[in-house]
Symmetry: C2
Amino acid sequence: MQISELSDRSGLTVQTIKFYIREGLLPKGSAVSATRSEYDERHLERLRLINALRDIGDLPVAAIQQIIASVDDPSVGLHELFGTTQYAIGPHVERPDDPHWRAAREDVDALVRELGWKVGGGAPARDLLAHSFVALRRLGFPITLTDLRPYVRAATEVAEHELRRVSDDAPRTRTVHSLLVSTVLYEQVLTALHRLAQEDASARRFGA
Amino acid sequence: MQISELSDRSGLTVQTIKFYIREGLLPKGSAVSATRSEYDERHLERLRLINALRDIGDLPVAAIQQIIASVDDPSVGLHELFGTTQYAIGPHVERPDDPHWRAAREDVDALVRELGWKVGGGAPARDLLAHSFVALRRLGFPITLTDLRPYVRAATEVAEHELRRVSDDAPRTRTVHSLLVSTVLYEQVLTALHRLAQEDASARRFGA
C-alpha cells in the first residue's frame, strides 16, 4: 500500500508516519520509484504498537526507540522484551531519601523474597508498592503480610492468566502490544470491576 | 486540647483548621473561654478523614461536605454512606455520545446483570469499565466475558475481603476513612503487585 493508505488505515497523518521513519521507529517502505514506496501489514502493525506506546503507555520517543530495538533484535528473549516494555511504562515514582521510604522499600524487598518471586531489583513496581506502603502508614493504616494476602493472590491469578494468553509464535510486535494492553488497560478494567464488586459486597453485607 | 495541639497532631495549619470549621466540615470545639475552645480525639479523627478525602480522593470541598453530612446523619445506613463516598471519588470519565460508547456501556450493564451484582445504575465504575472496553476495541483487543472471568474473580475476592475487614461498631468516620483507603490506596497496591506478579510469571514462562 502507499503511504496515504497507511495513513488512512492507521489514523496517523503522513507527517507523523514520516517522523517515525526519520526517528528509526518504523522501517522505510520498499522503493518502487524515486518518489513512491510500498508499505505492508507489518508497517501497519508497527504503527499501531508505536501509537499504543505513546497513547496508553505515555512513553517518550527515546523509550519507544528502545522497545522497538528490542522487538527487532531476535537475540532478545521474550522475558527480556517484556521487562524492557514494563520497566519503560513505569510508573516511576519519587524515591525520597528518608527513613520511612527506606523501611517501606525494605519491606517490599522482603515480601518479594518471601513470595519467591523472580523480579529484578530495579523493577519500578517495587518502588510503586513502597510508595503505597508509606502512604498507608502515614494515614494510620499500616500494612501487614496478612492484609496483603488476598491482593497477592488476586494479582498472581490475573498475571498468570495474562501470561498464558501470550502465544509463543505470535509476531513479537503483537506480543509487546498485547502485554502493554494487559498492563495498562486491563488494570483499568480490574479497577472498575473492583469498585463494582465493592458496591455489591457492601449491598450484601449492609443491605441495599 | 487547644487548636495549636490539634494543628501539631494533624499536621494542618491553624488557618486550614479554621477554614474547615467555617465550611462546616469540622464541628466547633467546646468554648472554654471567650477566646479558647477545647478539641478532642474526634476532631483529630475527623481532620484526618477530611485530609484523606482531599489528598487521596482528590475531592473538592463540596463533595467532602456531602460525605461528612452523611457521616453525621445516623439515618444514613452504612451501605448508602459507602455509595456516597465511592461515587464522589469517581473517577468520572467522559461519556461521549457515540455508538461505540453506547454499545460498550450496554455490555457493561449486561455483564453486571449476568453477574447478579447489586450496583446502582449511576455507579461511576460502570462508565470507567465502558471506557476501557471502548479503548480495547479501538486497539483491536475486543473483550469477551471469558477474558474477563479472572478479573471478575480477582475483583470479587478482594472486595469481599475488604468488606469483611469493616467492623460494624467502629466509628463511622473511621469506617469511611478505611473504605477510602481500600478504594484508592489498596488499588495502587494491587496494581504494583500485578506488575511484580507479571514479571515473575514471565520469568517462569519464558525463562530469566
